[in-house]
């Protein structure tokens, strides 16, 4: 019997899993299409790390559910409204500037989140996954920060592309710091992290890199939200169609 508190822990764990799975899937679209071979390998390596993080979270959620769910059923058999990822992560990969910007903004967020979550003294498993993931996120953050500077402070073309990306994506960053019910409850219990408290530090770190990259932080932008509660953009359905195709068409297929 799953009590209400476990219910919220499951929602929280699925939210963390969905965030990483959906971005992993998006980044993997670059496989074979990266601007140069080394960067194709870099973004797909990041994709693989994120997928590994997603697997750890899904495996834990499956244990908490205890109803025969497994990591595969959670990734392949849930519908759009059941996914709890932030909207930022489901948007199309766009051009290289858009992919880099999203990776940078999210890696900076993950870095702060996992730095706190690894010290969760209420939930050893979440803390362990966070500690392990943090080592990987540190690379992602360094790599994407360097790329932000290269693009922003690069050519007229690269600068205008990254500016367009900021205009496109910034309105989805607010959701990262707007806690859902399950995040609030888990934060109150000391298990999860209060994301609203990460915002100032995140903004300062982003500003540091933007300054080096000769870019500005947009102000007074209306923020889109909903993903954490299953209200998504039209893009999520398309990702799931591709991601879940095999299991939907041939239920239970194995190889």
């Amino acid at each position: 019997m799953v009590n209400q508190s476990t219910d919220q822990l499951i929602n929280y764990t699925l939210h963390l899993a969905d965030n990483t799975l959906i971005l992993a899937q998006r980044n993997s679209e670059w496989c074979g299409h990266g601007p140069v071979l080394e960067q194709d390998i870099a973004i797909t390596n990041i994709s693989l790390d994120l997928l590994g993080q997603a697997r750890n979270f899904y495996q834990y959620a499956a244990v908490l559910l205890g109803n025969g769910s497994a990591e595969d059923s959670l990734a392949y058999l849930r519908s759009e409204r059941e996914f709890k990822n932030c909207l930022l992560l489901e948007l199309p990969k766009g051009d290289w500037a858009q992919t880099i910007l999203r990776q940078f903004l999210f890696s900076q967020f993950q870095f702060l989140l996992f730095s706190k979550l690894q010290n969760s003294n209420q939930d050893e498993q979440l803390a362990a996954i966070a500690a392990k993931s943090l080592k990987e996120v540190t690379y992602h953050l360094r790599w994407s920060s360097e790329w932000m500077i290269r693009l922003g402070d690069g050519t007229e073309e690269s600068n205008s592309r990254v500016r367009n990306a900021i205009e496109e994506l910034w309105r989805y960053t607010g959701e990262l710091f707007e806690p859902s019910d399950y995040e609030l409850q888990l934060a109150a219990e000391g298990t999860g992290v209060d994301v609203s408290k990460l915002k100032d530090e995140w903004l300062n770190k982003v500003k540091e890199v933007f300054t080096k990259a000769t870019l500005d932080i947009p102000e007074n932008i209306f923020m889109q939200t909903g993903g954490k509660n299953g209200i998504h953009t039209e893009h999520l359905g398309f990702i799931l169609t591709e991601l879940q195709y095999m299991q939907r068409t041939y239920p239970g297929a194995k190889w």
Partner: protein
């Protein structure tokens, strides 16, 4: 005359089997060399091997677990248990010195604490020159970075500190 025999403890036997299981991505490193074996226990006579994976998404993880099972089956152990342990996270500090030597002989520069953030100057595993250039922080697998030696002109992988 007394014939000398080596009587291995059960744990040594287990370890000697594990020493014959290699990382499929870096086939000169055994799993103990790689530093992913945390503990060997026994439950009702069956070996329980606790493993810590390297990177979360390392695709070799499942192959390694299968290879461990196969190796034990070959030695007559039908019921081994493999447990995955996430915490503390794996670090290249756990890689054995023998492992680092084997990596270099294989053509991969071993992890070096002075280069915890990859930058130019890692010693070339072929000609030992330090006149080397970092090409990319991400190499052929998540655990490696890509370099080029400016003296012998060979590209090579560096096993990153983690």
């Amino acid at each position: 005359m007394v014939k000398k025999v080596n009587i291995l403890s059960e744990e040594e036997k287990i370890l000697s089997i594990l020493e014959k299981v290699y990382d499929p991505e870096v086939p000169v490193l055994s799993v103990p060399d790689l530093g992913i074996i945390r503990k060997i226990d026994f439950e009702n006579g069956s070996p329980v091997i606790t493993v810590t994976t390297t990177y979360s998404g390392c695709p070799a993880t499942e192959v390694i677990n299968n290879d461990i099972r196969m190796a034990f089956l070959e030695h007559g152990y039908n019921n081994i248990i493999i447990k995955n342990q996430l915490s503390p996270p794996w670090t290249t500090e756990w890689m054995s010195e023998a492992g680092k030597r084997k990596l270099k002989e294989y053509g991969i520069a071993p992890p070096d604490k002075k280069f915890s953030v990859p930058k130019d100057g890692i010693e070339c595993p072929r000609c030992n020159s330090i006149n080397t250039t970092l090409i990319s922080e991400f190499g052929s697998t998540a655990c490696k970075a890509l370099y080029r030696c400016n003296d012998c002109k060979e590209p090579f992988d560096y096993f990153k500190c983690h």
